[in-house]
């Protein structure tokens, strides 16, 4: 249920396992919503800290996504680049309620700003 704090974006099942979907944000960056093999859901700004690659298009493995442009690995939980690389993508709080995916309204608004 969409509330003042949370936006309902759809069913968990709409996100492929080890894959992602996006939430298009008018006037700003998309938000990439990931689902891991373990069934955890994470959301990040769909913008690699390196050269703004679309993280939603990367390969999800473990708790990370490999950016499709230059293969940086970004932690889904912290948004930090892993390994040698340095950089961070803003994360968006997300929760699951009755099979629905809810993302944080304030962070989503920030993505539009």
């Amino acid at each position: 249920m969409t509330t003042p704090e949370w936006l309902d974006i759809g069913w968990v099942d709409q996100i492929p396992v080890r894959g992602s979907r996006t939430v298009q944000v008018e006037g700003g960056d998309d938000i990439a919503v990931f689902r891991t093999a373990e069934g955890k859901v994470f959301a990040l700004l769909d913008r690699c800290p390196h050269k703004h690659g679309r993280l939603s298009q990367g390969i999800v493995h473990g708790g990370a996504v490999a950016c499709p442009l230059h293969n940086w690995r970004i932690s889904l939980s912290t948004g930090e680049a892993l390994g040698e690389d340095k950089g961070c993508t803003p994360t968006v709080p997300v929760k699951i309620d009755g099979g629905r995916v809810l993302i944080c309204r304030a962070s989503t608004l920030k993505a539009a700003a």
Binding site: G10, R18, R21, V23, E26, G53, R54, Q57, V60, P68
Partner: protein
């Protein structure tokens, strides 16, 4: 001697009297001061005429490695600064619990509110004739060390009775001081309480190598001498001359005072968890106590006891629960460590590592997945780690295989020198558990010519199954061959110890059918791989099981998932197939319409003679494809690890030089080979004559038409490292050219590593190999061609058509839209 007046004046604090100025007594006081420095008035009585020192360090003092000053723990200032009265050199001879007083040999009497007994142990003197002769001493305190030093100065022979920790340290010190030393030990091996037979034996060898005489199984009959020691006689009659005899056969808790005072005494003074004796006003700590039936002869437990004791004294009882102990022998250059129980027994598993040449012996005893004991000889670096695991009773089942190699090795990270660890293995140590291959077998297989990991796997099967021993085998290779190791293929990625070739082989050998199955069977170390191995595995399975394997979209690089090329701004470019580089007005019109309709900012002719439409949004892709499909065009696979294009020249149809129909052949070849997935991108070209206008000699497969037929070229590459092709062979007919092409593609598909283009692949395997498989082996060639065609029968579906019809449409659309003013759409 620091006799200090005992204060009895206005200080009304409770008086704590400590008997024993040794390791435990002083430590207890330190712990107490740390908790509440003002709580008690403290008086310490010590039999020795000196301040508190580190008794453990007597051995290094004897050996000349340290001086007494170096081993003082608390000097006179410490006592003064803390208002502690020290009565040194005047032992307490009686405790009167009724009047709560103690009396010293010198006649002083002191009353206490709390009494702490920390009298340590008495050395055990075996009751043989001559035991009281001058020159017969124990090894317990600084006085004994002084006696030994004087004897060594006088020169002569020494006999040490007792081959335990103390005896060996004394013998070591004395021989360093120039004495000829004989150690007499009753038991068959040295330090039998700490070491097992093997380690004891190694120790004996080492000490003998340093010039000591070690007599094991030797029983002392008497100490002979007239007025002073002259020798030791054994029960078998042997007489060993000696001017000094050190008895180091054991200690027993010093309990005489306590027993006389009527306290409960077993082997030691009995205490509860708070170090309180049978009299609530009297405490005891250190080697003189018995806790829960246990007495201790090492310092570590004393520290634990002192903490509980001090907690109790400030009325915050925590309680002592007993200790597990470990021992190290402080003989320079000989490293011995022992901890816990190594007697083995039911349910115990012994892990043993021996290296006779390096003098290393390690044994770890595991029961119920917990370490219960450890004996290390020669390399004790990991002693504390084992001891820690032992004390914490940690489950070591995960470490089991590598446990014996020590911490750095078992914990994987930053292995100090894994080669040394493997070198330390005994020949009959098992290297490969799956196939039961020992180190000896691996080494002999290497010696017989298996100079690479692959060769070892092929010959003796070590590391050919789960792969968890790959590191060991590699180290054995390095160890056995030095620099001659053929660097094996690198592992696929960090998730596995297998290389690409092994994974491919195992997929086929074990008939594996899915990525998770491969990861399970081959012990992947990550839950779902990474962006390197997943696409590779997906390809390998696809190649091995055409028509059967269910492609894993999430293991494909985005281009292959989106069937378009991702560009740096996140938009995509789209390349429709133009067979052989040919096109017509319908196609051109369709492309022009798409460019207009979707506002594509750029159209470009590619190097492969196709048109590339740039700047298409992900959401628009299905519509673009639908429009192109409508004009009869299919995906050009310009995005995939697959056949890209077949470039052609105009050939005999138009060109005045052309000898064959290169364009027509190019179209036929593209029709045959499009849609096939490959280890990497794959390009073909056909030129109509040796002028080679289609640049066929820098393509993966190139055909140059000549008068008499077709030259087939392979392994060219126009990329970062430009490589001209190798000539595969010459054939006479178009059909042959196509058959050879199919066979070559299939060989590459089946044998190259993922992301390895034909050029490096051919350089790796050699062009002769490829010739042998394609040109010189008609049956093999035909089989390859047949497999290729079977595979093609499943793969020539236009992915665009399926997507345009709505397959996986959700991949292209956002899950939701957020418009700040309007909320969710």
């Amino acid at each position: 001697m620091e006799h200090r007046p005992i204060k009895t004046d206005a200080d009304t604090r409770d008086h704590l009297v400590v008997i024993g100025n040794g390791m435990a007594g002083c430590r207890a006081v330190e712990e107490l001061l740390a908790r509440d420095p003002a709580r008690y008035r403290v008086t310490i009585f010590g039999a020795e005429p000196r301040v508190n020192y580190n008794r453990i360090m007597l051995s290094p003092v004897l050996a000349g490695e340290k001086s007494f000053d170096d081993i003082v723990i608390n000097d006179a200032e410490w006592y003064a600064a803390n208002g502690i009265a020290l009565v040194a050199g005047d032992p307490v001879v009686a405790i009167d619990r009724g009047t709560k007083t103690v009396t010293t040999r010198g006649g002083a009497t002191e009353s206490y509110d709390r009494l702490l007994i920390a009298t340590g142990s008495d050395p055990f003197i075996i009751p043989v004739p001559g035991k009281d002769l001058p020159g017969v001493i124990a090894f317990r305190d600084m006085d004994d060390v002084d006696t030994m030093l004087a004897a060594a100065d006088a020169g002569g022979d020494a006999v040490v009775i007792g081959g335990g920790l103390l005896g060996l340290e004394a013998a070591h010190g004395l021989s360093l001081r120039g004495m000829k030393v004989t150690v007499i030990h009753l038991m068959p091996t040295l330090m039998e309480r700490q070491l097992d037979e093997a380690a004891g034996w190694l120790l004996k060898q080492a000490l003998e190598g340093r010039g000591q005489t070690i007599l094991t199984g030797a029983d002392t009959a008497e100490i002979v001498g007239n007025g002073k020691v002259e020798g030791v006689k054994l029960k078998d009659g042997t007489l060993i001359p000696a001017s000094l005899v050190v008895m180091a056969v054991g200690i027993r808790p010093s309990v005489a005072l306590a027993r006389d005072a009527g306290l409960a005494v077993g082997r030691g003074i009995q205490v509860d968890d708070h170090m309180v004796t049978s009299d609530p006003h009297v405490l005891a700590v250190g080697e003189c106590v018995e806790h829960d039936g246990q007495v201790y002869g090492l310092v570590a437990p004393l520290w634990d006891m002192c903490r509980s004791l001090a907690d109790g004294l400030v009325e915050q009882p925590t309680g002592y629960r007993g200790s597990v102990t470990s021992t190290k022998l402080k003989v320079s250059g000989i490293d011995v460590f022992s901890a816990g129980d190594f007697s083995g027994g039911d349910g115990c598993e012994d892990i043993v590592l021996r290296d006779a040449s390096r003098g290393v012996y390690k044994r770890v005893i595991v029961r119920d997945d917990r370490i219960v004991g450890a004996v290390l000889y020669g390399d004790t670096a990991d002693g504390s780690w084992y001891f820690d695991l032992l004390k914490k009773q940690e489950d070591v089942s995960d470490l089991r295989d590598l446990l014996i190699f020590g911490q750095s090795f078992a914990s994987g990270g930053g292995a100090a020198d894994p080669k040394a660890a493997v070198a330390a293995l005994s020949d009959d140590a098992e290297i490969c558990g799956c196939n039961g291959v020992t180190k000896g077998q691996v080494v002999s297989c290497i010696a017989k010519g298996a100079h690479s990991l692959d060769a070892v796997r092929g010959t003796c099967k070590a590391s050919a199954s789960c792969g968890s021993c790959t590191g060991l085998v590699e180290n054995l290779l390095a160890l056995t061959l030095g620099d001659d190791v053929q660097a094996g293929p690198k592992t696929m990625c960090k998730c596995t110890s297998f290389g690409h070739d092994d994974v491919r082989r195992e997929i086929v050998a074990q008939a594996m059918r899915s990525i998770p199955e491969v990861m399970q069977q081959l012990h992947w170390t990550t839950p779902d791989g990474c962006s390197s191995c997943r696409p590779a595995l997906n390809y390998y399975l696809l190649c091995a099981l055409p028509g059967d394997y269910v492609d894993d979209q999430q293991s494909r690089f985005v281009n292959e998932r989106m069937h378009a090329n991702i560009q740096k701004d996140g938009t995509y470019s789209v390349v429709p197939r133009m067979w052989g580089g040919l096109t017509n007005p319908t196609e051109l019109r369709a492309i022009a319409d798409v460019v207009e309709k979707f506002n594509a900012p750029m159209v470009k002719v590619t190097g492969g003679q196709r048109l590339d439409i740039f700047g298409i949004k992900k959401e628009d892709l299905p519509a673009v494809w639908a429009d192109l499909n409508a004009a009869g065009m299919v995906s050009g696979h310009a995005y995939g690890k697959s056949l890209r294009t077949v470039k052609t020249c105009v050939g005999s149809e138009w060109c005045r030089f052309g000898t064959q129909d290169s364009t027509g052949l190019g179209v036929k070849i593209e029709r045959m080979s499009w849609g096939s997935w490959m280890p990497h991108k794959f390009k073909i070209a056909v030129s109509g004559c040796p002028r080679n206008c289609a640049e066929a000699t820098i393509k993966d497969f190139g055909i140059v038409c000549v008068d008499s037929g077709y030259e087939l070229h392979v392994g060219g590459n126009g990329g970062i490292h430009v490589r001209a092709t190798d000539l595969l062979c010459k054939v006479a007919t178009e059909q042959e050219a196509m058959d050879y092409c199919a066979a070559f593609i299939q060989l590459y598909r089946e044998e190259a590593r993922y992301l390895e283009r034909t050029a490096p692949w051919i350089e790796r395997v050699g062009v002769d190999y490829v010739k042998a498989r394609i040109a010189d082996d008609p049956a093999g060639r035909e089989a390859l061609r047949a497999r290729f065609l079977v595979s093609q029968s499943f793969s020539q579906d236009d992915p665009w058509a399926q997507r345009a019809e709505g397959a996986e449409a959700e991949h292209h659309a956002p899950m939701a839209r957020f418009i700040p003013q309007e909320e969710l759409a």
